[in-house]
């Protein structure tokens, strides 16, 4: 069982004007992503949630703190290794613009395996399986720029799956999609999480999406970027059991939770205003 530990992470961007007090983009974040968790980070824009994802992915080097991979043994002992820089153990799905237009659908998905030196027939077979998983069977030879936004995002997800990462990082992957496509992809993300039984972390500013997907919800507040609240949720399990997203999302428990979370975010923004 491997966990990912975010330990005392602070990020100060260097481009602050001299003399002005610099507000950290992230201030002393601690978070342990346990094996099998689906963490959703929710917050208004500017709260540092994308910075947090970039630190975990290794694209941004934190000013303080570290990201560590922690392997838990059967007997309860733990071995740690510090992660520096990006790696194939953390797959990333981006909001947009991240497919490579010079490769077709299959080659986009197989790209990571190609970089790792996996042979052509093997990587194409794995890529094909990943495309089946995201519902794009038969689209292998199409050009990615001819696909709709939702299908492009499915390719992005399949590509991240192909190298079978321990942690799937999703940076507002559904933000640019229309409501129908969004819902079907939310369900896809939940089924993938359930089937693969690996860690997922998704960033979003959509409260409903966050509640529906998360097994643990992290709410962030801005100035400085920090974790303000955490909730353990089970709407995702309920969906996987019943398969009816509308029933979950219109249940009174869901709506009540949505209002609670919205109020929390609102109040954290109001305190920001009085500062």
């Amino acid at each position: 069982m491997t966990d990912l530990a975010i330990e005392n992470i602070s990020v100060l961007y260097a481009d602050n004007v001299k003399g002005t007090a610099s507000t950290p983009a992230l201030d002393n974040i601690n978070l342990r992503i346990k094996a099998g968790e689906f963490i959703v980070v929710l917050g208004a824009s500017g709260c540092g949630k994308t910075t947090l994802l970039n630190v975990i992915a290794g694209f941004v080097r934190p000013s303080r703190g570290q990201v560590a991979k922690i392997v838990r043994q059967q007997d309860g002992r733990e071995s740690r290794s510090i992660l520096s820089g990006p790696g194939a153990d953390r797959g990333v799905v981006f909001q947009k613009h991240a497919l490579l237009p010079w490769l077709n659908v299959l080659d986009n998905v197989a790209f990571g395996l190609k970089l790792q030196g996996v042979g052509k027939s093997e990587r194409e077979q794995i890529a094909h399986q990943c495309l089946v998983q995201v519902g794009l069977e038969g689209q292998e030879r199409r050009a990615v720029y001819q696909l709709s936004g939702g299908m492009q995002q499915r390719v992005g997800i399949a590509r991240a799956l192909a190298t079978d990462p321990e942690l799937l990082l999703l940076d507002e992957p559904l933000g640019a999609l229309d409501a129908f496509t969004r819902e079907s992809l939310q369900e896809l993300l939940l089924r993938l999480w359930y089937n693969r039984d690996k860690k997922q972390l998704l960033i979003t500013h959509c409260v409903e999406e966050a509640l529906f997907l998360a097994s643990r919800l992290i709410i962030m507040a801005p100035n400085p970027g920090r974790i303000s609240h955490q909730f353990e949720l089970s709407f995702n399990r309920e969906f996987l059991a019943c398969g009816d997203a509308r029933q979950i999302k219109s249940s009174s428990a869901f709506i009540e939770m949505r209002e609670t979370v919205l109020k929390l975010i609102q109040s954290s923004q109001q305190t920001e205003g009085t500062l």
Partner: protein
């Protein structure tokens, strides 16, 4: 190493809102409309060319303009037949054309293999960028005729100086295009490669080069155009043949029909090459502008 795919709980979801060719922007709309209309595009091109030829024919044949200023297209055609048979100024038409092609494409090949690597390096490395940028930006706007005397003094009057002049005209736009190509790489695309474990070499090979290719191809089209515009200046230097030399030589004797013939030939070759480059673009970078 790869594990996925146990049972598939997944069911194929339908996505009603995703019609594949939904025209959601003006550009998209223009593209969809344009896709069915490439034939009418050619029709309009033919209309404009035929219109110009008709006007030319009328102006010369109806005596609106004296033949010294504008000879009839029929005269120009006759000259073409004459020169094709008998040559002009001591060389055959094929030799004139061949030498000009050699000069322009020889210089082009040299410029491509030197300028594109330099441009890529400038895009990737701030030191190279800092070193090369002022030099290129200084000489780039200079008219080739201004430094032609220096090139003759330094390199003499044979082929080397002709090639050098054309080479220099092509070098700057190629460098700039390769550099701009590197800049056009999206950070997301580099992040994708990094998160999939790509090293610097793999990022260059699999992300930066293909991403820069559309800009580089555009730069090649611009550069070859600069090459043709510099051809006449280059063939001012003690040339014995070449289309530019043909034009210069004919102008001294006020052979306006041969001047026009030379211009039309240069233009036609340049146009043909540009169409070829567009075909190559469509083949190599079909995603451009998408």
């Amino acid at each position: 190493m790869n594990a996925p795919l146990h049972n598939n709980l997944h069911q194929k979801d339908t996505e009603p809102a995703e019609a594949p060719n939904k025209p959601d922007t003006m550009l998209e709309y223009a593209r969809i409309k344009g896709a069915g209309n490439s034939r009418s595009g050619i029709v309009y091109s033919l209309i404009s060319v035929a219109g110009l030829l008709g006007l030319w024919l009328a102006a010369s044949e109806l005596g609106w303009v004296r033949p010294l200023f504008l000879p009839s297209p029929l005269d120009v055609l006759q000259q073409l037949a004459h020169i094709a048979d008998n040559g002009f100024a001591g060389a055959s038409l094929a030799a004139h054309t061949g030498w000009s092609l050699f000069r322009v494409f020889g210089a082009f090949a040299l410029a491509v293999v030197s300028a594109i690597p330099l441009g890529l390096l400038m895009g990737l490395n701030p030191v190279v960028r800092g070193l090369a940028d002022p030099l290129i930006e200084f000489y780039r706007p200079l008219p080739p005729l201004a430094y032609l005397p220096l090139i003759i003094i330094w390199l003499g009057i044979d082929e080397v100086s002709k090639l050098t002049l054309i080479y220099l005209a092509m070098f700057a736009p190629l460098v700039l295009s390769a550099r701009a190509g590197v800049r056009s790489v999206l950070p997301e695309q580099l992040h994708v490669a990094q998160s999939l474990g790509a090293g610097r070499r793999q990022q260059l090979l699999h992300i930066i080069l293909p991403a820069a290719l559309p800009e580089i191809l555009t730069g090649m089209r611009i550069a070859i155009g600069f090459g043709w515009t510099t051809l006449v200046a280059a063939e001012m230097v003690a040339a014995q043949s070449g289309l530019g030399y043909m034009v210069l030589n004919a102008s001294e004797f006020l052979n306006t029909d041969i001047v026009i013939l030379g211009i039309v030939l240069i233009g036609a070759i340049a146009l043909a090459f540009d169409y070829l480059m567009r075909l190559i673009e469509r083949k190599l970078v079909p995603w451009k502008g998408r």
